[in-house]
């Protein structure tokens, strides 16, 4: 083998290895930021940001008591389903929870809790939730043994 070919092999193979890693990182990136890679991440649409009054809506839902204590859910625009059903966002394993127990919905940066016809009820502070109620950060929501609260 001529020396030149060996050098091409030597650096070419390292290049190939790193190309693989580059390809893998593109997948990681696509997963983190969504959408197709290779483009500058889209600027969030202006229209969807009316909360300019310095006060930002809650960012996370934190489980403060119960078996899932410590679990944090990052809030987005999607509603959060809570219940025993496997497809809930927060799956409870609690005899006092119904399979579709409650739902948290974002409306203009504020979150509302609704009971979905559960057997044992959902409580905001001490009040049983009947219709949709506005949840303030730090206000405990109780479902069976589980307590949740919104944090900014």
């Amino acid at each position: 083998m001529s020396e030149l070919v060996l050098q091409i092999f030597r650096f070419g193979f390292l290049l190939l290895l790193w190309l693989f890693i580059f390809a893998a990182f593109r997948v990681v990136r696509a997963d983190l930021f969504g959408g197709r890679t290779g483009r500058v991440a889209a600027v969030p649409p202006r229209a969807a940001a009316p909360k300019k009054r310095g006060q930002r809506g809650p960012r996370t839902l934190v489980v403060t008591a119960g078996p899932l204590s410590g679990t944090k859910i990052t809030l987005g625009d999607q509603p959060i389903l809570i219940g025993r059903a496997d497809d809930s966002t927060l799956v409870l394993t609690d005899d006092f929870a119904s399979s579709r127990h409650a739902r948290l919905t974002n409306r203009g940066g504020q979150w509302y809790v609704e009971d979905l016809g559960s057997t044992n009820g959902t409580y905001l502070d001490q009040q049983r939730v009947q219709g949709p109620l506005l949840v303030d950060p730090g206000q405990p929501i109780r479902i069976g043994q589980t307590a949740l609260e919104l944090r900014s």
């Binding site: 092999f9 193979f13 290895l17 990681v28 078996p67 899932l68 944090k72 497809d87 966002t89 949709p132």
Partner: protein, 469 residues
């Protein structure tokens, strides 16, 4: 543990991509790299490509095609990076082992047994088990039902070499083998998996007690005395492995995995400190009492003082890494066979010598990708058992790579753990394939969109009256 919903697209049911195409493309890339590497080795060392090359390439490609098709059919939402990362590592491992085979032939050493074909057979067995596990275990939560059975199995597997006569279980001073009729397996590799599943199920059960009942001492939430039981038990088990099997690696691996899983389950940093304290105590006592531990530590502190004896291997490894430099000697261009047992324990130094720092770092980054995907799976999956299991499995890979590479580069004392997927050794390879099958299974559950249910009614359209404050 951070929440189930870290993937912003997780809730957008219906449009979650399966990403199987990505996986197929990357697997193809990994196979290409493997074949190119093999060709470069042959051309550099012998000047011509060996005739078996076509068969080898076809076999490797077939393995990954089968694995991919099975994932496509039975775990269609699985993480797209797990399998390609494994494919690349296995391919590189096979290449380096083949390269060392060639080196042995050239020197004309007494043993001209080819290890690469054997490793290929083990890899085939690994893929077979991978397929079997994905087909039979459809829901990872089913495993938690066998937790205590698996714990028993794990302990039996772990203890078996200790009670067998040395002729059947001892190789190079470590009693960690079962040798029957020419076959030798390391049951500890499988015990590791059984115990991780058990730890996950056990901690899911007991996390409340371990996390909530505590006293505050000097700013640290300390658990109650009686809750220390499990961690002490894991510690005693590790010490017993160390005493009876003289296996530093498994001992360290088991204890590390348990402490970290305990920490993940309870979110109490105090467990890490307790674990560290127990480890320090155990290490100190082991150093005082056991000769083999002291020998390892002494050669680690000053390998060049023992260059004619116990330190020879490490010194050769360091020289190899130094020879490799930044870009390496090129595949087939170095002398990695100078390091004793380069195929198994010291394969990382062979990689470092022939591919250089850039190549070795590339390998480490591939491990990093593998571990990151495992931990990400753990974050996204929505049941506590799956979270703990995925985190434990991912950590097991990370911990093993750290301890092995630390040993080879002289950062840590040598322990005798194997580099996952890369090193020669059937038990390790097959067990790690099972580990990845479990991760693939859990990642499928994590990424699979929620079962289609009635689309949530927008609050404004709901028949209830919206009470605005």
């Amino acid at each position: 543990m951070p929440g189930p919903l870290t993937d912003p697209r997780g809730t957008a049911a219906g449009d979650t991509p399966t990403r199987r195409g990505t996986e197929a493309a990357l697997l193809g890339f990994a196979v290409l790299i493997t074949v190119v590497a093999q060709a470069i080795v042959d051309l550099t060392v012998t000047g011509s490509i060996r005739p078996e090359m076509a068969g080898f390439s076809a076999w490797i490609a077939a393995l990954w095609v089968v694995a991919h098709l099975v994932v496509r059919k039975w775990a269609s939402y699985a993480d797209p990076l797990l399998l390609p990362a494994v494919a690349l590592l296995v391919g590189l491992g096979l290449t380096v082992i083949h390269r060392l085979d060639l080196a042995a032939e050239q020197v004309g050493s007494s043993v001209t047994r080819e290890d690469a074909p054997v490793q290929l057979v083990w890899a085939t067995l690994g893929v077979a088990l991978f397929v079997g596990l994905l087909v039979t275990v459809r829901d990872h939560r089913a495993l938690s039902r066998f937790a205590y059975t698996l714990a028993l199995l794990g302990i039996v597997l772990l203890a078996l070499p200790a009670v067998l006569p040395a002729s059947m279980s001892e190789v190079n001073g470590a009693k960690i083998w079962i040798r029957v009729a020419g076959f030798s397996i390391q049951p500890g590799e499988f015990a590791k998996l059984c115990l991780i599943v058990f730890f996950a199920a056990y901690l899911e059960d007991k996390r409340d007690v371990l996390a909530l009942a505590s006293r505050k001492v000097a700013g640290l939430e300390l658990p109650r005395g009686r809750d220390l039981g499990p961690v002490l038990l894991a510690w005693v088990l590790s010490i017993l492995v160390l005493v009876f099997e003289r296996d530093l690696g498994s001992s360290l691996l088991l204890f590390g995995i348990f402490v970290v899983m305990l920490y993940i389950a309870t979110e109490r940093a105090s467990w890490l400190f307790i674990g560290l304290g127990l480890f320090a105590g155990g290490a100190l006592v082991a150093y005082q009492v056991f000769g083999h531990v002291r020998a390892r530590v002494d050669t680690w502190l000053d390998p060049f003082a023992y260059v004619d004896g116990a330190g020879y291997q490490l010194v050769q490894s360091l020289f190899g890494l130094g020879t490799g430099g930044l870009f390496g000697a090129g595949l087939g261009g170095g002398r990695p066979d100078q390091v004793p047992v380069a195929k198994s324990d010291f394969i990382a130094s062979a990689v470092g010598e022939e591919l250089g720092l850039f190549g070795l770092v590339a390998v480490i980054v591939v491990y990093l990708v593998l571990v990151e995907r495992g931990l990400r799976t753990s974050l996204v999956v929505r049941d506590p058992f799956g979270k703990l299991l995925a985190a434990g499995l991912a950590f097991a890979i990370a911990w093993q790579v750290f301890v092995v590479l630390g040993g080879v580069t002289g950062l840590l004392p040598l322990t005798g753990l194997t580099t996952p997927f890369l090193a020669y050794g059937g038990s390790s390879l097959v067990a790690n394939f099972v580990l990845v099958a479990l991760l693939v299974r859990i990642s499928d559950a994590a990424r699979r969109p929620a079962a289609p249910h009635a689309a949530p009614v927008r609050l404004g359209d709901a028949p209830t009256e919206v009470v605005m404050p």
